[in-house]
Amino acid sequence: MRSDLTYAEAVREALAEALAADERVFLLGEDIGVYGGAFGVTGDLVHRFGPERVRDTPIAELGIVGAAVGAALAGMRPVVEIQFSDFTAQAMDQIVNQAAKIHFMLGGEASVPLVLRAPTGSGTGAAAQHSQSLEAWFAHVPGLKVVMPTTPADAKGLLLAAIDDPNPVIVLEHKLLYRTNGPVPAGAGRVPLGTAAVRRRGADLTIVATGVMVSRALDAADQLAAAGVAATVIDPRTLTPLDADPILASVIETGRLLLVQEAPRTCGYVAELAALVAESRAFGYLRAPIRRLCGLDAPIPYAPQLETACVPQVPEIVTAGGELVKEW
């Protein structure tokens, strides 16, 4: 065991290992070379692997993703960095109409093993066009896999698994997590896509949270525990494919489900989880209505006090969890 890595370092370590292990892997994106990435994630990789394999591009997201699709079709393993996940909007045609469809359209004869990494979420004062949580856009498209790592170990392990995967995989890295620390054992391996993590166990309440909300849910669970409420906290880690079993099993045990996401409520990802539970064998075990805590149905504002008010914070999770247990 060696000292902890930050989430950003863990991502970089995964990229370095993949670049070293497989000649087909290369990186492309805006300012990932000598600048080191807008969030410093690629760091010094250009010095270690050269500008051919850590390739700076012009500001042209559609072209970048399209070129990655082509390279992937032709046998390479491109890893794209989109500077902010908001700018996937520019590249949506290549992501949705090309990358996600090609394998199916061509009868399984070709595949697009492409990874798209994108910093996501609010909390930095970057306002409406740089702060969105767009995971539901991608989760809705068959043919894409969507990953949201929340710990450094998962950031590394899921990225390595994504690079191995023969499909287009979108990895949404939360900006507020880049500087968080955690253990990443040397030689730590892949975290298979489609495996949820149960981060904490308790018999009274199931909390499922995505992205940065996992750590807020864990903080809330600590406070709830102090008040005598034992919560299970589940982190799906990959939204598609989803590992539903731990969620259903926990709901059967606790009878109460609180779903937490940063993205706006309407048509958000956790609505899918709510429907899934409602349609499942776990439904009959529910003792309380399923409850969602989500971002406001509003764009993310600039002012810090407005931004904070837009997305769920720890006290709200504590309150919602407490109410579910006490009132039902």
């Binding site: 805006e30 300012d31 070379g33 000598v34 600048y35 080191g36 807008a38 969030f39 410093g40 700076d56 591009t57 012009p58 500001i59 042209a60 997201e61 559609l62 072209g63 908001d86 700018f87 520019q90 930095t124 004062g125 970057a126 306002a127 409406a128 066009q129 740089h130 406001l296 149905d297 509003a298 764009p299 504002p301 600039y302 002012a303 810090p304 006090q305 407005l306 904070t308 008010a309 837009c310």
Partner: protein, 322 residues
């Protein structure tokens, strides 16, 4: 063509605007460093001549689209410093009620249709504003500001082409500060930027973006062409940003020497020299312009600091228009 630096009134106006932009951004830089301002900032220090000369060639009824580096555009088009500062300080009295911040600063009343956090996002919007002028039969002109990096985005190409085929009254003003974040514009394209525009069949010129007169002349021509129904043009103004791209820039992609050389070509100093040489401004006038800008920015900061904070209770308001 008017000699801007030879006309005392114009010269005073231009110098006042450039100093207000410079002092505003220096104040923002300092507030940020002191932890009083949040988010990120893209400063245009060193580029002041482009928005100043461009907006001087426009009428108040003309409009602009702006960029993430938009403080200068906003000030040059006539916005009030106190409401801009209030926006950046997350106040309710800010131009966007604290929702937009630096990257989305706009004063719609003075014809600023919005700064934009999306590179090249404003280019097709400018074409659309031009189309509106055409359809409504006004003689308004729209200037679209963007950087050299924007010229590589699909949105840029689509917007310029629409303006070209429909002969819309739009002037595309490229502030070529030579880097798209860390990517040198010469590495991002095998053609010159003006060649790109020419490829769409519109007139294009390249001027020294640190020379007020050159920018003013080129934009004045382009505006006249647009207003008379002859369609869009492209003006490339070559300039330089002194500061990093944003607050997280370590400047690893350019040298200290290069930055120093451009600082020696400070557009404000150049203009002051030109205006005193022409006898339009005396040393005392120049000092006065500088001092007035300092005072204006200082009182904007004071007014903004004293203003009420943006209110979370109003968040759901203005998601949809009523």
């Amino acid at each position: 063509m008017t000699g801007v630096s030879a006309d005392p009134d114009l010269a005073r106006q231009v110098l006042g605007t450039m100093w207000r932009i410079r002092r505003f951004e220096e104040a923002v830089d300092e507030l940020f460093a002191r932890g009083l301002m949040h988010g990120t900032m893209h400063l245009s220090i060193g580029q002041e001549a482009v928005p100043t000369a461009t907006c001087l060639a426009l009428r108040p009824t003309d409009s602009i689209t702006s960029t993430h580096r938009g403080h200068g555009h906003c000030i040059a088009k006539g916005a009030a410093l106190d409401r801009m500062m209030a926006e950046l300080l997350a106040k309710r009295t800010g131009y966007c009620r604290g929702r937009g911040g630096s990257m989305h600063i706009a004063d719609v009343a003075t014809g600023n249709l919005g700064a934009n956090g999306i590179v090249a996002g404003g280019v097709p919007i400018a074409a659309g504003a031009g189309l509106a002028a055409r359809l409504r039969g006004t003689d308004q002109v729209t200037v679209s500001f963007f950087g050299d990096g924007a010229v590589n985005e699909g949105a840029w190409h689509e917007g310029v082409n629409l303006a070209a085929i429909w002969s819309l009254p739009v002037v595309f003003v490229c502030e070529n500060n030579q880097y798209g974040m860390s990517m040198p514009s010469t590495k991002a394209s095998r053609t010159t930027l003006a060649e790109r525009a020419s490829g769409y069949g519109i007139p294009s010129t390249t001027v020294d973006g640190n020379d007020v007169q050159q920018v003013y002349d080129a934009v004045t021509d382009a505006v006249a062409r647009a207003r008379s129904g002859d369609g869009p043009s492209f003006v490339e103004a070559v300039t330089y940003r002194w500061k990093g791209h944003s607050k997280s820039d370590k400047n690893l992609y350019r040298t200290r020497d290069e930055i120093e050389q451009w600082r020696e070509r400070d557009p404000i100093t150049l203009f002051e020299a030109a205006a005193s040489e022409m006898g339009a401004l005396a040393a005392a006038d120049i000092d006065q312009c500088r001092e007035q800008a300092r005072q204006a920015v200082r009182s904007a900061v004071q007014a903004a600091m004293a203003a009420p904070d943006a209110d979370p209770a109003e968040l759901a308001d203005a998601v949809y228009a009523k």
